[in-house]
């Protein structure tokens, strides 16, 4: 009977390895879920004399999208964001990460601007506070300013329908 132990242990290991194939070890969850958005004060890309702070969107459920003109994958998700902005279901704010002001504005005028406003985070410090480790990333922030979800990578229509928008709807119900 004890001769079956190696086989048994091996089969358990294979099951875990098989499950592992469907997981992505590089996808790290955000430790900020449920915590308040870190405070920041950034000049707006569109109007550098004005400031963007978390107060700008307090009281509303919003998406905060981290983007840059040098980011190739951002181009991939951009049409999705534009379409979402058209539908006016949820306001989208941008965090322009480690970019140049002129390049960022050129990018927005060329490809369209879905953002109510974009904060210009030139040295990336706000990104560090948010735990950004790749671009693009999108945060769902509730009315109280708490971060409720982080989506890494481009926002796909499927991610919108399945994960992001249902959460936004639920959060809108909250006081």
């Amino acid at each position: 009977m004890r001769f079956l132990i190696p086989l048994g242990v091996f089969l358990v290991m294979v099951i875990f390895l098989a499950i592992g194939l469907s997981l992505d070890p590089r996808n790290l969850p955000s430790p900020l879920i449920g915590k308040p958005t870190p405070t920041f004060q950034l000049p707006k890309v569109e109007e550098p004399s004005q400031a963007l702070t978390p107060e700008s969107f307090r009281g509303r459920v919003i998406l905060l999208n981290v983007w840059a003109s040098w980011c190739v994958s951002c181009r991939q998700e951009h049409p999705v964001l534009l379409e979402l902005a058209q539908r006016q279901e949820v306001p989208i704010f941008g965090l322009n990460y480690k970019d140049q002001l002129t390049a960022a504005r050129d990018w927005l005028s060329k490809f369209g601007n879905p953002y109510e406003a974009s904060g210009f985070d030139q040295d990336g410090r706000v990104g560090i506070d948010l735990g950004v480790y790749g671009v693009p990333e999108t945060f769902v922030i509730d009315k109280k300013g708490l971060i409720r979800m982080k989506h890494t990578g481009p926002v796909t229509p499927q991610a919108l329908e399945k994960d992001i928008l249902p959460l936004v709807e639920r959060l809108k119900q909250e006081p």
Partner: protein
């Protein structure tokens, strides 16, 4: 054209592999000699076609044929010829082809050196190897074909990853594969013995040299990888417990246990079932390593670009190979009878303890490596397991192994007299501790407990090993005669065990007494570590074949005497546009001096990392000692006899 020839040869090779797998095994089961002899011919044909295929791939690189997708992805016309050839095994598809080729090399070796085995046994060994080949070749053909074309052909290639453009990196994979894949021979011997129903000391005697050769290559491959990481990665580290490093270390630990267990099985008929299980484990860990590196289930600096289809294929293959062998083991092992009787105090039992400790160590590394995956699969969070876990678990398991290795050769087989052994070794512990205290106090500080413990253990091991040699030499009439009459095999053991001591010294001293300084230096500035002064003389630009470099000049002086000039570089590779740090090292037997450039700061100054690393080369010397010990054992007279015990009932 050569890619198409390569493709055809791959297909032919897999057909021969299928023949090599099926006919001999069925023939052995049914007693059909003709089918059994298919194994040899099919194995050799498989090798021939794989060699041609591999040659075609190399040709693609040499000729800069960027219409081959693999060549275009990993080569460039400015890449020096030597690296173009090495790029053949620099990425997933090519390295799998190398894996398959090396398996066929081992297959041919078996057909050449195992002629005096009985036909059924030979057939079973070759049959199992044929089935493994089939799996690997199908994997290559269906998911990882290096001969895929790229149309339209790009004007130039993507260049080889600069980290691989290095001598150490070019020979590290072939050596490792010779080791990993070589363990398949011991595995096949084990399966053949289980299938045939007879496990005797002749089986162990046949398995030993094959396991030894694979182990030697695996040792060399691991040493190369560690040495490469040290000089290439620029931070003075040499082992990071990265999943892929662990994937090579686990088979090594189990293969070491296997070598020791085979000795007991051959000499005393002990541990038969356990040895078979170890042989299965060793190769299973090789396959598992292949899966971990190429499937993307673990985050690792080494991991190849992952593709779920590939991961799934290897997992299914792994499950089939290992699952069926463990099932066979479960069915046949209960009827294996050990012919050994041994007392509690005996060399058999000490070897058993060695095995248990080594396998436990391997299991603990496996646990640590897979733990993040298990937690994630159970949705209990994402964690990473790193050096704190591994060093704290591994070291305490290795300490008893080293202590036992020092004295186990002194214990007789079957029944050892504790009193007799004690008589020989009662001075060993005090002497080792004294020497440890003296060396630690003389050169370092006595309160360094880890250094004291490490050095004392090393002295214990050296003393015990030389003592056991001496007690055998003493049995002869003169010292000279005594030395000459010892077998190469026992010298091999002596050197290999001394190698462990050398490694331990290097490990403990470099770990505790390395000095690292990160400083800002402007041209003309000096930084000091101990008695060494590092004078920064400035930066100049240097052009390489496919890179441009900023090269710093450092003069190293001690008491105003010029020791050496070090020229670390920061290279910018033109095609992939990444930056590589090339550290400059002054190697020495008792210390390394190591300089690496950081980032350029203001006004011509640079951030620089300076290291003083005492005795770090001893880590790799230790590994090389172990290799030499293995080689000596391999050259022993008993393996040079042409007709080795031919009777092996199957």
């Amino acid at each position: 054209m050569s890619a198409e020839i390569g493709q055809w040869c791959l297909i032919l090779a897999v057909l021969f592999a299928i023949a090599q797998g099926i006919f001999p095994l069925l023939g052995a089961a049914r007693g059909i000699p003709l089918w059994m002899s298919v194994g040899r011919a099919a194995g050799r044909a498989q090798f021939l076609f794989l060699a041609i295929a591999f040659g075609c791939l190399i040709d693609g690189f040499i000729a800069n044929d960027f219409s081959i997708l693999y060549v275009a992805s990993h080569s460039n016309s400015e890449l020096p010829l030597y690296y173009r050839v090495a790029a053949t095994w620099g990425a997933h598809e090519g390295s799998m082809l190398l894996w398959a080729l090396i398996l066929s090399v081992w297959t041919v070796a078996v057909t050449l050196f195992c002629r005096s085995l009985t036909l059924p046994f030979q057939a079973r060994v070759l049959g199992v190897m044929g089935l493994i080949s089939t799996g690997i070749l199908l994997f290559i053909l269906l998911t990882s074909n290096p001969f895929d074309r790229l149309v339209p052909m790009p004007p130039d290639g993507n260049d080889l990853n600069p980290l691989l453009q290095d001598f150490g990196m070019t020979i590290h994979p072939p050596m490792l594969y010779m080791g990993y894949v070589g363990l398949s021979v011991a595995f096949s011997f084990a399966i053949a013995a289980l299938l045939g129903g007879t496990l005797d000391s002749a089986w162990a005697r046949w398995s030993r040299p094959w396991t030894l050769v694979a182990w030697i290559f695996l040792t060399f491959g691991i040493v190369l990888g560690s040495w490469w990481a040290y000089y290439e990665l620029g931070w003075g580290g040499w082992w990071f417990w990265d999943p892929v490093e662990n994937a090579s270390f686990m088979p090594w630990l189990v293969a070491t246990a296997l070598l020791h267990s085979l000795a007991a099985t051959e000499k005393r008929g002990a541990f038969k079932a356990w040895t078979v299980l170890l042989a299965i484990f060793a190769f299973s860990l090789s396959l598992l390593g292949t899966f971990l590196v190429r499937s993307g289930v673990l985050t690792s600096v080494h991991a190849f670009a992952s593709d779920p289809a590939r991961g799934l294929f290897i997992l299914v293959f792994l499950a089939l190979v290992v699952g069926s062998s463990l099932l066979l083991y479960a069915l046949r092992a209960p009827s294996i009878r050990d012919s050994a009787h041994y007392a509690l105090i005996s060399r058999e039992n000490l070897l058993l303890m060695n095995n248990i400790l080594l396998v436990t160590a391997a299991a603990s590394i496996l646990l640590g490596t897979l733990y993040p995956l298990v937690l994630d699969a159970l949705q209990w969070g994402k964690i990473s397991v790193g050096p704190p876990y591994f060093s704290n678990v591994f070291a305490p398991l290795m300490a008893p192994v080293i202590l036992l290795a020092g004295i186990a050769p002194l214990f007789a087989w079957r029944e050892a007299s504790l009193a007799k052994v004690w008589g020989k070794i009662r001075w060993l512990a005090p002497a080792a501790l004294t020497l440890g205290i003296i060396t630690t106090a003389l050169f370092w500080e006595l309160k360094d407990i880890k250094v004291l413990a490490g050095l004392s253990m090393a002295f214990w091991l050296i003393g015990g090993t030389l003592l056991s040699l001496w007690s055998r030499v003493q049995l002869r009439s003169s010292v000279l005669e005594g030395l000459q009459s010892q077998s190469l095999s026992s010298y091999g053991m002596t050197i290999a065990h001394l190698g462990i001591a050398v490694f331990l010294v290097g490990l403990v001293l470099s770990d505790r007494h390395s000095v690292e300084k990160v400083v800002r230096l402007a041209p003309g500035d000096t930084a000091a570590i101990g008695r060494y002064d590092f004078i920064f003389k400035g930066i100049k630009t240097v052009d390489g074949p496919n890179f441009k470099a900023q090269e710093g000049l450092f003069e190293v002086r001690s008491e105003d005497q010029l020791i050496t000039e070090l020229k670390p570089q920061k290279r910018s590779y033109r095609v992939q546009r990444n930056t590589m740090t090339e550290a400059a090292i002054d190697p020495g037997v008792t210390r390394d001096l190591y300089v690496a450039l950081g980032e350029p700061l203001d006004a011509g100054a640079w951030s620089v990392r300076l290291y003083y690393k005492p005795f770090i080369r001893w880590i790799w010397f230790g590994g090389l000692f172990m290799m030499m010990g293995g080689l000596l054992a391999l050259l022993d007279r008993r393996y040079r006899r042409h007709k080795m015990d031919p009777i092996l009932t199957a």
